[in-house]
C-alpha cells in the first residue's frame, strides 16, 4: 500500500510553523509497513488543493490530509474533496451534536460557522475527533477502478495524534489484515553518533552505504549524525537478524562514537546511565541559562538523578550562592577555567550530588569572544576534576547554546 500525505495550510508555505505532523505521520506509516513516497504542502486555495489531490490519488492508494478542517472560510479540505469526486455534502447530526456539547461544556455559544465542521461528503464516514471540534473523514472511494482510502485530519498536532491513535491506526491495521497479503514491512534501526562528522563516518562505512539490503544511509543532524539501517522483511525476527549483522560491522569500526539508537537522545541515555549507576548530578549553568537542566528533566523519571540545578546568570549569584571568589571573577573573568571550577565546587557542595557540571561562556550576540565556553566536570570525592574549553564562534546564540549543551551531555555520558 502506497500512502501520500497532503499538508494543507498557507502558514506552512509561509514558514510560520514547523510541520510537526510530518514527523509524526511519517513515523506512524512506517510502523504500519505503509510506504510513503511523496508529501505535498499546499496553501488554503481550492484549485491548488484539488490539483495536489489529483496528482496524489493517481499514484497512491492512501491519501492523508492535514489542515483545512476548521470553521473559517479558508478551511477548504472537505469541500474540495467533495467537489473533486462530484459528491454532495451532508450535515452529520451526530457530529453537530458533539460540537454543540463541547460549546455547552464551556458555557459558550456555538458560532454559526462551526456548523460547517459537521459537514461530510455523503458516502464518507466521520473520523471522530475526541480532542476538538474538527472531525475528519474516512472515505473509501473507487478511482480509476482502484480502491482508494482518504483520511483527513485537522492541522493541530495534538488532535492528529489522538485521532490517529484512536481511529485511523486501528482502521488501517484492520484494512491491511483484510487484504491478507503476506506483505513485507520496512524495518529500520538508527544508530546515533556524537563526536564524528558525517563524511568521516560515511567514509568508514562506505561499503555498507553502497549495499542494497539492508540499506545503510547517513543522516546529518544538529551537531550529531546518524546511520539508518533499513530492510524489508515479512517479520521482525528476520529483519532484526539482517539489521544486526550490519550493526555489528558498524560497531566494530566506529562503535566508540555511538551513544544510542532510534529515539534515544544524549539526555535520555545519560539519565538511564545515571539511574543504572544510582548516581546523581547537579548543574551550575550560566550562558546556557537552564537549557541543559531542561533537556535532562525532559526525561521522565529524571528526578531520581537530579535534585538541584542552579542558573547563576549574574556574577553576584555566582559569588553569593556558589561561593565563587570575587577575586577569581576579577582576575580571570566569569568565562574562565578558574570560575567554572569554583562554580562546580559550589554546586556539588549545595546539591550533595555524585557529579557536578558547571558552564560559563559567551553565547552572544554581544560580548567577547563570542562562542568561548568553559565547562567543568567534577565528582564528589574530587577524584575527577576536569575543565574543557570550547570555541564555538561563527554561530548564532541559539546554536552556541545548543552545541554547548550537546558537548556537556556527551562529556558527562562518556565520563561517568
Amino acid at each position: 500500500m502506497r500512502a501520500e500525505i497532503i499538508f494543507i495550510g498557507t502558514e506552512l508555505l509561509l514558514g510560520q510553523i514547523v510541520n510537526s505532523n510530518a514527523v509524526f505521520l511519517g513515523q506512524e506509516l512506517i510502523s504500519l509497513g505503509i510506504d510513503c513516497y511523496f508529501q505535498t504542502i499546499v496553501g488554503d486555495n481550492k484549485d491548488r488543493i484539488k490539483e495536489a489531490f489529483e496528482i496524489a490519488i493517481k499514484r497512491s492508494d492512501l491519501i492523508i490530509t492535514t489542515g483545512g478542517l476548521g470553521p473559517t472560510s479558508d478551511d477548504l479540505t472537505t469541500e474540495c474533496l467533495a467537489e473533486f469526486f462530484g459528491e454532495e455534502l451532508v450535515l452529520d447530526e451526530k457530529i453537530l451534536q458533539h460540537i454543540q456539547n463541547l460549546f455547552d461544556k464551556y458555557n459558550k455559544k456555538m458560532a454559526e460557522s462551526n456548523k460547517k465542521q459537521a459537514l461530510r461528503p455523503k458516502s464518507a464516514n466521520i473520523l471522530f475527533n475526541s480532542a476538538g471540534t474538527a472531525p475528519g473523514i474516512i472515505w473509501q472511494k473507487t478511482f480509476n477502478e482502484k480502491q482508494k482510502i482518504i483520511l483527513t485530519f485537522p492541522g493541530v498536532p495534538t488532535e492528529v495524534k489522538i485521532m490517529w491513535g484512536e481511529i485511523a491506526k486501528p482502521f488501517l491495521i484492520d484494512f491491511l489484515q483484510s487484504q491478507n497479503k503476506n506483505s513485507e514491512k520496512l524495518y529500520f534501526k538508527e544508530l546515533k553518533f556524537y563526536g564524528i562528522g558525517e563524511s568521516d563516518l560515511a567514509e568508514k562505512v562506505q561499503d555498507l552505504l553502497d549495499q542494497n539490503d539492508p540499506t545503510t544511509a547517513p543522516l546529518a543532524g544538529q551537531d550529531e549524525c546518524r546511520l539508518r539501517i533499513a530492510t524489508k522483511a515479512i517479520n521482525e525476527e528476520i529483519a532484526n537478524q539482517k539489521i544486526s549483522e550490519v550493526e555489528s560491522i558498524i560497531q566494530k569500526r566506529v562503535g566508540q562514537f555511538i551513544y544510542g539508537i532510534n529515539q534515544e537522545t544524549l539526555e535520555s541515555v545519560l539519565i538511564e546511565k545515571l539511574k543504572y549507576k544510582k548516581q546523581t548530578i547537579a548543574l551550575a549553568e550560566s550562558c546556557t541559562g537552564g537549557l541543559i537542566s531542561k533537556r535532562l528533566t525532559d526525561i521522565p523519571g529524571s528526578s531520581v538523578c537530579i535534585g538541584l540545578n542552579i542558573i547563576t546568570y549574574s556574577n553576584e549569584s555566582k559569588i553569593s550562592l556558589l561561593k565563587v571568589k570575587p577575586q577569581t571573577l576579577n582576575e580571570f573573568g566569569a568565562v574562565s577555567e578558574q570560575t567554572v571550577l569554583e562554580m562546580s565546587a559550589g554546586i556539588i557542595n549545595l546539591a550533595k550530588s555524585d557529579w557536578a557540571l558547571a558552564v560559563s561562556g559567551v553565547a552572544g550576540p554581544t560580548g567577547k569572544p563570542i562562542g568561548e565556553i568553559f565547562l567543568a566536570l567534577i565528582n564528589a570525592d574530587n577524584s575527577f576534576q576536569e575543565v574543557k574549553k570550547l570555541q564555538l564562534g561563527n554561530r548564532s546564540r541559539k546554536e552556541i547554546r545548543w552545541k554547548t549543551s550537546q558537548e556537556a551531555l556527551a562529556w558527562i555520558l562518556k565520563t561517568i
Copy 2:
C-alpha cells in the same frame, strides 16, 4: 514569479527529522515577494525525484531543492537534474580544489566519493557553499519556451542559510530587479494572542476573515493563536496603511489578548518589558526543570533582568536552599499552594529580584494527579502575592511542561 520547493531525503518521509529548511525558505521567499504555492517532499529515489521535478517545472518559474548533494550513493539531486534536461555532468575544477582544501585544512584524506560533489551539469553555475563540501547549482534553463531558475541546496539547515544569504538571495534580488516589473509584494503582519481560543477569536473577527484585501487568517499554534493580516502592495508604506486599518479593528475587539506581533514570543516580549521597567525576575522551578529559565535566557540581553534561577527538583533542595518548611511539605505536599508560596519567598530572598515566580506540579507520566500545577508570583515588597492552580491532565509530559511555561510567562507579562 512562482517558486516551488522540493525537499529531497528519505529521512524526511520517514519522519526522522523536522524539516526546518521549510520554515527558513518559506519565510525568505515571502520576504522577496516570491509566491510559493507548492512544496514537495520526496525520498532518495531517482524516478521519484524526477517525477517531482517534472511536476514542479511545469507550473513554477523557480525550483528550489534541498538535500541529495552529499558524497554518498543515495545523493542523487545533481544527477537527476542533469538527466532530466539531457545534459552531461562535468567536473568543476575550482570546486574540487575547494573540497580538497577543506580536507587539507583538517588534515584528512579526501574520500574518492567526495569528487562527486564537484560535478555540475555543463550549462549550470555553481552555488558556492562556504560552510561545507556540498555546493549547489544555479541553473537558468529554458523549458517549454519559458525561462526557469533552478537552485539546489544541501540538506543541512546551517549550510542552506549561509548559501542563501551569501549567494542565492542576492542573485534572486538582482534577477527580480532585472525583470524590472513594478510588481507587488506580499506584506503581512501577525498578531499573537494568548488566553483566547481559535474559534472564539475567529468569531469575534469573522467579518475580517471573510474580507479579501487585506486578508485575515487565523493560525492555531501550541497553546496560543495568531491572526495573519496580509496584503499585496507595490511598497511597504501602502501595505502598512492597509494592514494597520484592519489591525486597529482587531485591537478594539480583542486587544486585551494580544501580546505581541510577528516573530515576538511571550519570552521576548516579557524580557523587553522587564528591561523597559528596569526590573528583574527570579525563578524557582520544580516540574518545569529549567524550561522557563531556558526560554527567558534564549532572548539576547536577558542577563540584565535575570541574575539567578534555581531548579529545586527534590524536596531536600526546596528545604535547604529555598527554606521551604519541612512541615509544609509534609502537611500539604510539594505540589501545593503553600509550597510554591514558600518557594517564591525563598528565591526572592536569594536573588534580591523585583519579582519571583515559583512553580511546582506533576508533569507525569507517573505521579498523581498528573497535570496539577501550582504557580506563585510575588514582588519584592509583598504588595503582590498570588497563587494560580492549573489542571493540565490528559496531556503528555512535554505538553504539560510547555503549557505551564506558557501560563507562567503570560501571567508574569500581564502582572508586571
